[in-house]
Subunit: 157 residues, 8 copies
Amino acid sequence: MGSDSDFPVMAESIGILKKFDIPFEVFVASAHRSPAKTTGIAAGAREKGIHVLIAGAGHAAHLAGVMAAHTCLPVIGVPIDSSSLNGFDALLSTVQMPPGVPVATMAVGKSGARNAGILAVQILALANSELEAKLQAFKNEMALDVDRKDKKLREHQ
Amino acid sequence: MGSDSDFPVMAESIGILKKFDIPFEVFVASAHRSPAKTTGIAAGAREKGIHVLIAGAGHAAHLAGVMAAHTCLPVIGVPIDSSSLNGFDALLSTVQMPPGVPVATMAVGKSGARNAGILAVQILALANSELEAKLQAFKNEMALDVDRKDKKLREHQ
Amino acid sequence: MGSDSDFPVMAESIGILKKFDIPFEVFVASAHRSPAKTTGIAAGAREKGIHVLIAGAGHAAHLAGVMAAHTCLPVIGVPIDSSSLNGFDALLSTVQMPPGVPVATMAVGKSGARNAGILAVQILALANSELEAKLQAFKNEMALDVDRKDKKLREHQ
Amino acid sequence: MGSDSDFPVMAESIGILKKFDIPFEVFVASAHRSPAKTTGIAAGAREKGIHVLIAGAGHAAHLAGVMAAHTCLPVIGVPIDSSSLNGFDALLSTVQMPPGVPVATMAVGKSGARNAGILAVQILALANSELEAKLQAFKNEMALDVDRKDKKLREHQ
Amino acid sequence: MGSDSDFPVMAESIGILKKFDIPFEVFVASAHRSPAKTTGIAAGAREKGIHVLIAGAGHAAHLAGVMAAHTCLPVIGVPIDSSSLNGFDALLSTVQMPPGVPVATMAVGKSGARNAGILAVQILALANSELEAKLQAFKNEMALDVDRKDKKLREHQ
Amino acid sequence: MGSDSDFPVMAESIGILKKFDIPFEVFVASAHRSPAKTTGIAAGAREKGIHVLIAGAGHAAHLAGVMAAHTCLPVIGVPIDSSSLNGFDALLSTVQMPPGVPVATMAVGKSGARNAGILAVQILALANSELEAKLQAFKNEMALDVDRKDKKLREHQ
Amino acid sequence: MGSDSDFPVMAESIGILKKFDIPFEVFVASAHRSPAKTTGIAAGAREKGIHVLIAGAGHAAHLAGVMAAHTCLPVIGVPIDSSSLNGFDALLSTVQMPPGVPVATMAVGKSGARNAGILAVQILALANSELEAKLQAFKNEMALDVDRKDKKLREHQ
Amino acid sequence: MGSDSDFPVMAESIGILKKFDIPFEVFVASAHRSPAKTTGIAAGAREKGIHVLIAGAGHAAHLAGVMAAHTCLPVIGVPIDSSSLNGFDALLSTVQMPPGVPVATMAVGKSGARNAGILAVQILALANSELEAKLQAFKNEMALDVDRKDKKLREHQ
């Protein structure tokens, strides 16, 4: 994440990774204020055995793009709403990558951070059938959860 | 893709997949006009041995989201600029997925379609070291290509 | 509605339906988290004797469009402001339907939910002269209510 | 429609109505330049046996809203992209109706005009089982058309 | 104004009119909920000796445009931020009038309402030299007020 | 106007003024490139017998605001679409004036320029009953013109 | 700054200038309410020995542009979010300057104000090697600060 | 510039630098496709005797921000309209820099590129009185040019 103030948002990604028992590492590294650290993390990730990078940042959010420039690993970007422009700046800065260097962009904010974790798990599950089964169970559980809320709402009406 | 009129855009994805010798299948399937076909493709993809889905659509682009709802495989979304709103509608309809069902969203249009292909290769390369080497070569080639253009521009100035 | 958190908004639709003594059923069903349930409701609505569907959802709001894909009944969409983007995402995701599958889109939020109820009544009133008379009375009452507020404001100035 | 220059867009609605053998009447009537005519059409529609109104207009598109203010019939609004703002002005002016007076808003431009026709048919089909059967056939035909395009595209690849 | 809830904004216009001793009348009249009243006020304004109309409304703000359609008097529009879209809807609905029927549009909200009052005074001052002198004094006073704030800020720094 | 390239747009204002036999003067004066000239025109307008100022400009359109800062006469602003941003920049730069200094803002482009001329006539007509009669005739003619177009369209259908 | 209410934002610029021991002067001067003062400050700045101007304003923020029109010194613009439009109006009014008169535009709000101070220091440092060293130290300190936050976050996880 | 396709836009900057006899160097260097080259140029600029950097890029334009992260020199950013989003993406990606790392952002496209050149000259002129005199002459010439266009337009009317 680009700043420690982004933690409450990115905690959503962490929650998912913990839920699926995926080992992970968390960094605060700014594309602009600590560029050497940022590119170092991206460039060294493959060798450290990292498979997927998740980058959350606000404003003119370059973090995901800068990381993607320094690695061939999949990079997931989470735009964070931390300026007055409601996250439109972070969204466009993350998603509108020029041809050649993709960033898998999620929704702005907590929904996006949560989905970043899930997408990472989906990618890892391609080579891990146990994880795949957990994902399927997670998907089923979501549908059941909607059912429970449906039932509860209809009972109380 | 949601319509055959999206082909000129989605051909960018196909070009990348061919370049990396990735076997792929192309469908025209609309989330709204042929929903059964669409959900069938998504739900059956895993069993057919498909690893990654790429969905390109315009307007209120639901294609990627609907596919993601029916599979645990990674789904990559390409918003296509096919209404008067310059692709803002397709972008927001693709990227702003609610928590639980991620779509890896790319830039609007051809850049995004090209990057969708590259992201798919990045994901597949996690379990394929030959592909990984090709990706690294592709990345190096991009840098050299910028160098060539740089040199050419400076010579002609 | 796509989530039980949308209830405070969609309660506006319910209020109108109750006021006009229209029998109705409420569901929580997500286009993404419980797609089978959602398409089942839409596909089975005609046979259950339902005449109009109202779908309220936020983010990349696909609920109304997905329902419209599975029924020939009129579908009314209510975009809900539940992300940082002020409802622009839900509005464009609901209204910009591709040709062939309409969604009758209302304003973002409570105004839209209230109007969804009224539009449903207008549609039902086409075949029900008693309902038509009630609608006309409702319209007259709105004008009188503006008059009352006008009078009150002018007295207190 | 608000201007005869809107005809190429609104012809899409007309095409659908003709296809389904729905009798219809076409007017050019501006909410701003010929307000008396406009409100007259709306106010008198019920008595003339009209069941649904479709209003297409550009700029600050008030046509649908003004008609809706003068009738209890369902009013469908088609925003038209006729200013430099790509139809954002017409869309917001049509869809963001205040509580009490709904306009069933369609997508900007030709897609929306076509869907306006279909929504009108869906509303009329509630009391006309023949029309309902035609609609279902139309929906099936759309899915088959996607299939044909799918097949054709895949053959030529 | 279109609703009594717009009063806190429109009070800014009233404050200016009082400050310049301009006689005025206040109405609550909705373009959509009480259209007859609204067009009646506009159509009868000239005969009542009214010179300028100020219309403040939110959402798809048609009030100013509808009044302008029924009078040759200058109509000033104040877009009010009363939906989730931050006033973009009211602004575009008020300002993007089609050719033939102008609305003199002000900024969204209180700034705009205040300026609506000032513009009305500017128009009336064209035929009233006393008012013109007051306006000039008001303009000078604004500059002095900035000076005072400047001085105060610099002293306290 | 801020640039001679704005002439094709501002010619719409001129056309209206000529039609109503209003004497007028045209200037090219930039708020940024020739500020002294611009403020000179605004500050001296009253003494020259000018009653209304119309300012058309593109990009960050400051022309109308700068003129309004230097005069108590009514200033009408016409945003012109001359950048890649479709006139959103010129519109917001013209309409969002801070409290104290109004600009009567019109729609972006030719519609707005035409309406600027009409608003100027409306203002002048307050003290000129002959002009008032002409305006009423113009309004009636617009309604008739819509009728003619309506008739023609319906005949040819 | 255009208003004393902008002080909490512009204090960020002041903080930076103080930190780097840059002498500075603060003015409240409105492009619209006190135009003579504003242009006087800009026109006289060079002679007073001022090297860089920073202008912060909201709404249709003309302050920076108007100053730039009256000086050849670099002008830095800070858009301030003081209307309902989240600063989009101030941003576009500041950045979209027509060719010939640049404004060095910063992000909306406090981030932008802080960066305006830093850019001013960067410009001054071109002719001041002591300042240049301080800037480099500041840059290094930012990277260390990110490191400290990184370490702290990782310890507490 | 980020791509050789940006040359027609950035040629505007070059034209200004040539006009003022400022020595300059042109690079094609992408923040994403050739990041090492890009950061190398930025990091080495100071030592090469470069005083100001101008970076033009489209899409999620990170070029200016990445360069600013690697140097204490002033960096001027030119957003380029090269996606379907009309340059909104490049503008927000360039201007919304987080606190600590400013980018002096210009208007989208050719106007901005031209102004980038002028701003660079303004910065250099602070330590070069000959350049300062040339700038003043350039400013005077712009005003005269407006005068000439004004005269010409008025003669031909």
